[in-house]
Assembly symmetry: C2
Homo-oligomer: 456 residues x 2
Amino acid sequence: MPEALLLAQLAGHDLAPLTAPRDTARFSTDATRRGGAQPRLVLRPVNTAGVSAALAACFAVRRPIIVQGGLTGLSGGARPRAGEVVLSLERMTNVAPVDRIAAQVEVQAGATLQSVQQVAQAQQMIFGVDLGARASATIGGMIATNAGGIRVLRYGMMRAQVAGLEAVLPDGSVIDAMRGLEKDNAGPDLRQLFIGSEGTHGVITRALLRLHPAPSLQINALCAVPDAARAQELLAHMRARLGPLLSACEGIWPEVYEGAAARIGTPPLPPGAGLYVLLEVQGMAEVLREEAFEAALIEAYEAGLCSDIVVSQSASEYDKLWALREACVAYTFSLGELVAHDLSLPARTLPEFLDAARSLLARIDPEAQPFVFGHIGDGNLHYIVNTGKGSEVTGGLNALAASMGGSITAEHGLGQDKVRYLPLVRTETEIALLRRLRAALNPADLLGQGRVLPPE
Amino acid sequence: MPEALLLAQLAGHDLAPLTAPRDTARFSTDATRRGGAQPRLVLRPVNTAGVSAALAACFAVRRPIIVQGGLTGLSGGARPRAGEVVLSLERMTNVAPVDRIAAQVEVQAGATLQSVQQVAQAQQMIFGVDLGARASATIGGMIATNAGGIRVLRYGMMRAQVAGLEAVLPDGSVIDAMRGLEKDNAGPDLRQLFIGSEGTHGVITRALLRLHPAPSLQINALCAVPDAARAQELLAHMRARLGPLLSACEGIWPEVYEGAAARIGTPPLPPGAGLYVLLEVQGMAEVLREEAFEAALIEAYEAGLCSDIVVSQSASEYDKLWALREACVAYTFSLGELVAHDLSLPARTLPEFLDAARSLLARIDPEAQPFVFGHIGDGNLHYIVNTGKGSEVTGGLNALAASMGGSITAEHGLGQDKVRYLPLVRTETEIALLRRLRAALNPADLLGQGRVLPPE
């Protein structure tokens, strides 16, 4: 159906449609910077009724749709394919006042992470997920992709932040699971069907998000660590000492450390270590013995788990260590066209994986340079490679991670770009069940077509 | 198909079948003590292959099956219906050694909660969910019903404890989602389909459970509180002070308090308060300022949030306060045939619900006596009534909770006994989606027939 007819049908709704190429160009790609098809129609509803009307109209004529949030995805999930109508949630950005007793906030799906962080902060609360793309990434996209980030070991991924969820099915019907109860076992939890579905089961339109009391005391430290096995022992040691107050454990390998440190000025620790581990404790000043963090680090030093430590002594030193971590992304992006991987490894094989990956790279492309950093506390490595043999390297690393019990995508999702690797980490029976699930929720396969599931 | 033919087909498998009425009688009811149909065949596999064979054989002849764990359910989920084959997991009780680096333990679904708690404890770790039925309740049943218990506000429900899951679909095919990665966004998370499905989507056979470092310091306190609104303010205050170290917030109303206290000897606090709130902090001795808990309680006292406080000063005092909480269940059970409800309320309406419920009871049955206790930190009230008008009271209380944004079952699930009330808390669109989900996973509706979904 031509766009004009679709628009005529939707005339009564405030959808702020865009059709001119100069207006729709900005919807044609995502953070992968790979070019997608330029959409011929972009619909921009302001509320759930608008989303429902748009989906119902497209469903009636079997027109494929792709939903877009902040376009910060790294797997091509929101990058349009030819013929798709783009449904952008950029005008659905309301954030309600915080419900302080429930410790929840209701948002529209197009609200950015940063806008949620700001309203929480104004009430001495925090939102549990944080990531570098906070100014653009939307809550809807983050729920749809079950985003992770830097404090998963303390607060969990997006799945753990969702108290209530509203979603629109492809036929326009609305699932209102917004009661937001901490406990509600009246049947299987429908919210879980949409979290991590990358938009292929329905369009998330609203959410009730959990908030936490803002920690009045937060300290971080950078440690020089001999190797990954020692980094894991350091993590286990700090977790045993600090329990749930340990809030981050990030790893930065030397190639990235040196480049990232150069971007922020003087390196906090000299180069030469096997890797660098950034640890953080968050707690309440009245409750947390401030000296306990440093004492635990000194024990780790004495046990040979790290060879050098710098502990933040002020807010500015604290911010500087986090700036170093954020500079890892900026630094690797600045190196041009690298091949990125978002791997997940079980704790028991992560050190072995790092060695095996180096050997594999040397075999495939002796010129290849790896740049590695990530969330060592969750076994999640952002493994980025400078290579001319991208597809062999990607195939090799994904197969290696899978063979060691890992996953080909820890937090970025499958999108379009990683679909072909799904059989490395899911059995035929699992993929068959994923198809049955897709058929039950999205029967004409109009929503997110070509994403997540490989072609049959 | 007669049982003999089914058994002949399964002859090669170690299923320890039971058919004699004296052997099968113990499988005919659950903790509701209501009589179910006595099964004519009980199959008791020892492993996943046995479960798969049993399900495939029943599927081939369209024979309905009900899976049973520890039979501690309170909604009739596992209580057999006429014609059902019982699949008992009582011989699948293996618990593997703890993986200390991953902080996980692999178990068969028939393992009891207590057996998991014991292996965790031996490694200075704890399992996050605890509940009174720990000696009988099985991990598989607890996952299938997304069990909650006393520390949900700190560790979450069973959903948050599951790192890996294996389940057998009704046709005997096995879903192996046992990688146990902290982060794995390769497609929608199939584990979530089985958690909280009450056995209607598949039979859970194995799980990888998350463990936490055992707290070296735990203190609890009982507070006399004027009313529920003040109890919620007390909770908000303690959470703001203690953050994630606050590990329990239980409420006991006077009728239950006096009876339960009498069972354990001297009451820790005199009678006469509006309600009693049991609070707990769990942390590491090196990190947690022990005096902070008491200081925060004194602030609450000074703010009028409580009128009397007893803080545990020793392990035996700590145990005694928890014994009081456990005596609430034993006390109300001892009162004979009461009508139990497992309600969930949003924080904003919980105090108002309590008043409205008293008025409702007085209208329906002036003789009715309510006995109320529960997890006030999660908005979950176990609302038990001594009444001769059980069905009117249940209908009235469920409708009231639903109308105030609550749920008719916070943690016990729907089973057979609460199915009729599902439309109070789920829209037609939601129930239609639940049916599509059931059809996708359990197409012949052989597993858990008559549970969870109302008849069409």
